[in-house]
Symmetry: D2
Subunit: 203 residues, 4 copies
C-alpha cells in the first residue's frame, strides 16, 4: 500500500551489541509506539557495523554504511537515538550525520533532493544534561540535508545535574518521557504521511 | 479563503528603525518571495517595540509583545530573521524565543498546543561565521514550542573568516543566498498548506 | 595591594529585583566562596539597569551599560550567572555578551586587548537541562573577547528531564553543585592571580 | 629543563594519510609558530590510528588510543585541529573528546584532576561557516575535563556562505588567520608556562 509508512531508528550508542544501551532502550520504546500505528520500524545499532568516517555515500574498502543508507533511503522517517556525552550528541551520531551529508548531492527522478519528503526526529538519553542541545545539533544537520522536523520532539531523558544513573537503570519509567515518546511517534507519522502524498515542489 | 497562507517575519536586529539593517534586508527579500506565491507577509522589526524580558504572554507594565504575539498567532508561518553576533543568534532573537516559550501553556479548542500546525524557519546574516549554529538554536527552541521546521532552511549569508562586510553592503547579491531564500519561501509555504489542512492529531 | 583580586558577577535573570531569582542565589553562593579568599565581589543584577541592545561600549540615550562596564573593566574575574531557558543562556546574558563584544576594539596602554589577563566563568541554573550548552556559548563568546577560562567550571544545577522545580526552591542544597561552586571560585582566583602578575605578551 | 613546554596537536580530519588535509595544514602552521618559541610539538593524525569509540582510557581489543593518550598526558598544551562539517566539529574530534572524558577519573599524585595545569585550544577549518560553534563545543568539553582555555583562540578559516574552496586550496594564505594562529601559539604557551609552575590548588 502506497501510504504505508516505514521508520528507521539509528541507535548511536558508542558500544556494539550485546552491551545494554539506554539509547537502544528508548529506541525500542519509540518503535513500540510506531508499531501501534502500523509503522514498520527498523532499529539499527550503528556501532555493530563497520562504518568509515567520511562524507561520501560509499567510502569503499569494507565500508558497511551502504546497507544502513539503503534503509534510510527506503524509509519515510529517520530517528537518531543518541546517548549524550559531555552535553553533546555522540561521535557515532556525528559520524552518521556526516555520512548523510553525502545526500546533498542526491536527487530523485524529478530533481528534488533525495531526502525531501522524509521526516526526522531525535531521542536522547544521558545521566544528566544536554538533551536540548543534542537535538539542536541533529535538527540543524538533518534540515540541511533535506529532512523535515515535526513539532513535539525530541523525546529525551536526563537526570539531575551531575547525576550518574542511566535511563536503562531507572526503577520507574519517567512518565513525561513516555508521553513525549508517544508524541514523537504520532507527530512524525502524521507529517510523514502528508509529505509522502505531497512532497515539496521541485525548485 | 481558508487556504490563504500568511507569514510573519520577526526581524531581530539590535537596532531600531530607521537604521539600515541586513537582517531586515534579507527579511524583505524573503517577503518578496512569499508574495510571489500570494502569501501575505508582515515584517516586524522587534527593536522598534518595547518588549519586556520574560517567559509570559503578557509581562504587563507597557509590554508591547502582545501586538507581535497576535501576528504570530494569526500566521501560518513564522520566520526569525536575525543578525549573527559572536557566532550566535542576537539577544533580540533570544528574547523573542523566550516570549514564545509561553505558548507551551496555550492550546487550541481541540486541546492541541497552539503553535501546532505552524511552520517556522530562519534567515541569518553576519559578517562572518555562525549561520548554521544560529539556525540550530532557533530550530530547537521553536520545535520545543510546537513549530514544524521545513527542509531547505535556513537562508543565510556570512562572509569569509574574520571579514567585516555586511550583507547590505555587498556589491552583488550572492546568488546562492538568493536561491536559498526562494527555497525557504516555497518549502515553508508548501508545508504550511499541508499542516493548515491537516493539523497534528490531538494527543 | 596590587595583588588583591576583585570579581564581578553579572546576574542575567530575566526579572528585575526584588523578584526572587535562582541565578542570583547561585551568584551569592559563589560570592560567598570568593569572599572566603578575600576576593571583593560585586553582584550586579543586569535587569535592574536600563541596558540598550547593541555592540558599542556606550549606546547613548540613557544607556546604563557604562556603569556595569566600569565594574567589569575594574575586575580581574567576570562570572556570568544565567538562568537556562529552552536549554540556552538567557537573552539578558546574550545582551551582555554583545555589549562585551565592543571590547574587541579596546586595548591597554601596552597594546593588548583590554580583557586580556581577566578570567571568566559561568554559573547556570534551570529547571532541567541545558547547563553544558549554556556554558559553551558563553565560554566561546568570552574567549573571543579576550577572557581566559579556568578549569573546573561551570557551576550549575538543573533538575531531571522535564522537571519544574527551581534551584531556589530545592529543599536541600545539592552537594555536588556546592562543591563545584567552590572549585569555580578557587580556580578562577588562582588563574586571575597568575594572569594579573603575568599578563599575555603583546603580539 | 623543567620549564620546557610541549604541545600535542590532534588532527581530526575524517581521512587517514596520505590524503591532503586542511586541518593538518593549519596544524602544521600552528606547530611552526610553536617551534619558533622552542615548544616541541607532536602532530597526530587521529584517523591514522585504530581508535575505538568509548569513554574509557583503554577500550582494549586493539584500541590504539593509549599511544595518543600518552602524548596528551605528557604535553602541556593540547590543540584540537578539526575540519568543520555541517557547521560542527568532526566526528573524529567528538570521538577524541569522549576518550578524554575518561580523564575525569584520573588524578595526579596530589589528588588534582590529571588534566589540571594543561592548556587547550582549537584550530578549525571549513569551506564555509561553523568555526565559532566548533570551538564552543570543544572548549566546553575540554574545560569539563580540566583544561584551561587561553584568550585569543580559536584560529580558524572558513569561506563565504555556501562556498566550496578548502583552506589548503587557497591561492593566498589569509593574513588574519595567520595572525590568529600566531596568537593561539603565543597565548597557549604563556598560559601553559604559568600553570606548569603554579598548578591549581588541590580542592
Amino acid at each position: 500500500m502506497q501510504n504505508s509508512i516505514t521508520a528507521t531508528i539509528l541507535v548511536c550508542t558508542l558500544s556494539p551489541s550485546p552491551k545494554k544501551s539506554s539509547s537502544e532502550l528508548i529506541a525500542k520504546e519509540l518503535a513500540d509506539e510506531f508499531e501501534k500505528h502500523d509503522v514498520a520500524c527498523n532499529i539499527i545499532r550503528v556501532a555493530d557495523y563497520r562504518i568509515k568516517f567520511g562524507v561520501e555515500k560509499d567510502m569503499g574498502d569494507g565500508d558497511e554504511w551502504s546497507s544502513i543508507r539503503e534503509r534510510v533511503v527506503g524509509s519515510d522517517i529517520l530517528i537518531i537515538s543518541t546517548p549524550i556525552w559531555m552535553g553533546q550528541p555522540s561521535s557515532v551520531a556525528k559520524m552518521v550525520l556526516e555520512r548523510l551529508d553525502a545526500e546533498l548531492a542526491e536527487f530523485d527522478d524529478d530533481g528534488r533532493p533525495l531526502m525531501y519528503g522524509k521526516v526526522a526526529s531525535v531521542a536522547a538519553v544521558g545521566n544528566e544534561d544536554g538533551a536540548h542541545h543534542t537535538s539542536a545539533e541533529i535538527f540543524q544537520a538533518l534540515t540541511d540535508v533535506g529532512f523535515t522536523i515535526p513539532a513535539g520532539g525530541p523525546t529525551y531523558w536526563v537526570g539531575e545535574a551531575m547525576a550518574s544513573t542511566d535511563y536503562q537503570d531507572l526503577a520507574h519509567k519517567p512518565q513525561k518521557t513516555q508521553h513525549t515518546t508517544k508524541i514523537v511517534a504520532v507527530n512524525s507519522l502524521h507529517l510523514a504521511r502528508l509529505l509522502k502524498q505531497h512532497n515539496y515542489p521541485v525548485s
